[in-house]
């Protein structure tokens, strides 16, 4: 294999590995990607393991102190570290635990053996190491991944939209789900997914994270006017955004 091709490695922490599977899936339509890069580590798909890589794509959240050592080793080796998907980028659904007492959650699942397993709050990897780029979403968007990798190979930071999902619904001419009696986090959520959930009849769940300067108070009001009580608003906003909302509430 050519040694001049950039070497890429995939790593996984707490997550479902759906983002890595999305990468495997996109090879169906982008086999040519394999000509542009050399994949040297991808545990889910290959037995080869090589510690010499320039670009690290990291899926999954930090959830236990021992993860820090692995993350630091990745940071020390890679020139570019990319957070792949909502779990690495935001803490993902894992962060739901952060809104509860960890002891209660551990006991509910593991009973009297709750203390056998190491676990802490679920955090984005950027809380522990410097991250150079992120590819958001749960799961990541295939086309956005390909665009992002192309940018990285050209030495650029991927251009991830900072406007809300609502813009993409308008571009697709998808009727606003609020008009159909549903609720949506589109006004505060970063676009780039093509507004896929509203186009399949489901309001945005916020998996790509908040836009800069979201108007949270206004959206809460709209959700309430559309029939959601406080529990439902919290559940809706907390599915993917628990960590970000905790931060934005502190700043407010």
């Amino acid at each position: 294999m050519s040694s001049t091709k950039p070497k890429i490695a995939f790593f996984d922490f707490a997550g479902c590995e759906g983002c890595q599977l999305t990468v495997l899936d996109l090879l169906q339509s982008h086999m040519d990607l394999l000509n542009a890069v050399e994949i040297v580590q991808f545990r889910e798909a290959m037995s080869e393991r090589n510690q010499d890589y320039q670009i690290a794509l990291v899926e999954g959240s930090y959830t236990r102190p021992s993860d820090e050592v692995r993350l630091q080793a990745i940071r020390d080796q890679a020139q570019i570290v990319v957070a792949l998907g909502a779990c690495a980028h935001l803490g993902g659904v894992n962060a739901i635990r952060n809104a509860h007492r960890l002891e209660e959650i551990k006991t509910y699942v593991y009973g009297e053996k709750a203390d056998v397993y190491e676990s802490a709050s679920a955090r984005p990897i950027s809380d522990f190491i410097q991250v150079d780029a992120f590819i958001p979403g749960c799961p990541i968007d295939r086309d956005e991944f390909v665009r992002a990798v192309k940018s990285l190979l050209q030495g650029n930071v991927p251009d991830i939209p900072d406007y809300p999902v609502c813009v993409e619904c308008k571009l697709r001419e998808t009727g606003c789900v609020f008009l159909f009696g549903k609720t949506c986090l589109g006004p505060i959520t970063r676009a780039g997914c093509g507004a896929i959930c509203p186009s399949f009849g489901v309001g945005c769940e916020g998996c790509r994270g908040l836009i800069p300067h979201p108007n949270m108070a206004s959206l809460r009001e709209v959700l309430s006017e559309n029939g959601l009580n406080e529990t439902s608003i919290q559940a809706k906003m907390g599915l993917f955004l628990t960590n970000q909302i905790a931060t934005s509430d502190m700043e407010a």
Binding site: D12, F13, A14, G15, C16, E17, G18, Q20, L21, T22, L24, D25, L27, Q28, S29, M31, L34, I39, F42, R43, E44, A45, M46, S47, E48, G60, T63, R64, D67, G92, V93, N94, I96, R97, H100, E104, I105, K106, Y108, V109, Y110, G111, K113, V116, Y117, S119, C138, P139, I196, C197, S199, F200, G201, V202, E205, T231, S232, A235, K236, L239
Partner: protein, 429 residues
């Protein structure tokens, strides 16, 4: 003959999630032979608590990137049983079609990308692309059809969007279904080539008797609902799943272990084949004959062969199901309503790697208790049982050969470790 042997495979590759194989043989005596599950716990059952029931399937699909459709479907069935929701015939057909898509996608991934490299003497599908591009292209071509089938129904394969309690929030158009039907029919040549590929491979000859469990109905090769059946005889309603799975904790695993009438049991493609083979599509039966699989088989390496047979079966069933849907015409309909806002229900589906259970209690529209029992957690005790039987038989092998046999054994079960690690014990009080 090697009387002393240590094997320590850290983070076994080409499986979903993080597991280690640890073997310690001293002076011919097996001191330790474990499959350690070191995946970080994710606590899904606790995360479901207090959330509105209509969010449960969207959250629990995130348990697994490979079998997201099965988790979503099982979650929806648990909610529907708890709240007295009766989905329409069209909804049932579309869900089944979506599950066929996921079964195909997952089995093709497993057989071609995770298992075939061992059989063809390469380290990965990436290396296989250098040595035999046609095999890789075929796998990707088939996987593409399977993924597109899931996307047509759920919006995307990984973490479906349109699946809701009582029905769907979006329905596929007749045009999309027609085009998928044509592509599935065109896949038959690739199915023949898949059977031929596996026919030419030599699988290890290891055998060990154990108990096999799968869902069963009289009408068809069962993937949704039905009853739990065992090769040891007997059948049980889904609500009695705890007496089957009987989970217990072991110290070296963040996933629980399970036992029923023997010390361990197996779920998955081989168990389904053994219990339901008479209901397979004729083409799948022909594939079984061609590949030499019989209902008496007790070789765990043959799980991959059973998966190939299910690839044939699911393709043929998906084709017939699409034709039925098109004959009836896709009817616009709202999801079926809930009859009540509190209740308790157990949903069960056959995930690619075995029977999956979700059990919820719902109080005033919010989840108040949750328990999920994952196929891989059910298989773990059986995998270790196989490892402990296999190692003494192979003490004459080199450590590398032994490691290879053990890795292939674990891989054959197609373990989904991310799924199993957080899916542990919960008391539904």
């Amino acid at each position: 003959m090697s009387q002393t042997l240590q094997i320590d495979v850290h983070h076994i590759t080409r499986v979903e999630g993080h597991g280690n194989i640890v073997v310690d043989v001293r002076k011919g005596k097996l001191e330790k032979c474990d499959l350690e599950i070191v995946e970080a716990p994710r606590f899904f059952e606790a995360m479901l608590l207090g959330r509105p029931y209509d969010q449960a399937s969207h959250l629990s699909s995130r348990i697994c990137g490979i079998c997201a459709v099965t988790h979503a479907t099982t979650s929806l069935r648990a909610v529907e049983k708890a709240l007295g929701v009766e989905p329409s015939k069209q909804t049932k057909r579309l869900r089944k079609l979506n599950l066929f898509g996921e079964m195909l996608d997952s089995h093709i991934l497993h057989v071609y990308m995770l298992v075939a490299p061992d059989l063809l003497g390469v380290q990965s599908v990436i290396s296989l692309a250098q040595t035999d591009i046609h095999v890789v292209e075929r796998a990707l071509r088939m996987k593409n059809v399977a993924g597109d089938l899931c996307a047509a129904i759920g919006g995307r394969h990984t973490h479906p969007i349109a699946m809701a309690v009582g029905g769907f929030t979006h329905l596929p158009s007749a045009d999309v279904l027609e085009s998928l039907c044509e592509r599935l029919e065109a896949m038959r040549t690739d199915l023949d080539d898949t059977v031929e590929l596996i026919q030419g491979c030599q699988l290890p000859g290891f055998e060990r008797e154990t108990e096999y469990l799968a869902l069963h109905t009289e009408e068809e090769y069962c993937f949704i609902d039905g009853e739990i059946t065992s090769t040891e005889g007997g059948s049980w309603p889904l609500e009695e799943y705890r007496s089957m799975t009987n989970e217990h904790m072991v110290d070296h695993s963040t996933a629980k272990h399970a036992r029923h009438q023997r010390q361990s049991f197996m779920v998955g493609a081989l168990a389904r084949y053994k219990l339901n083979h008479d209901k397979l599509h004729p083409n799948a039966k022909a594939a079984a004959a061609a590949l030499g699989l019989t209902p008496g088989c007790v070789n765990p390496y043959m799980i991959s062969v059973a998966q190939v047979i299910e690839i044939v079966h699911c393709t043929e069933c998906a084709i017939s199901l699409i034709k039925q849907l098109l004959d009836q015409g896709i009817m616009p309909e709202d999801p079926a309503p809930a009859a009540r806002s509190s209740g308790e229900g157990v949903g069960a589906c056959e995930a690619p790697r075995g029977t999956l259970y979700h059990h919820y209690k719902i109080k005033d529209g919010l989840v108040s208790a949750a328990n999920c029992v994952i196929p891989t957690a059910q298989n773990l005790a059986n995998i270790e049982g196989d490892m402990r039987a296999l190692v003494p038989q192979q003490l004459g092998c080199t450590p590398d050969e032994m490691t290879m046999s053990l890795e292939m054994l674990v891989r054959a079960y197609d373990p989904c470790i991310s799924c199993s690690a957080h899916m542990i014990n919960v008391k539904c009080v």
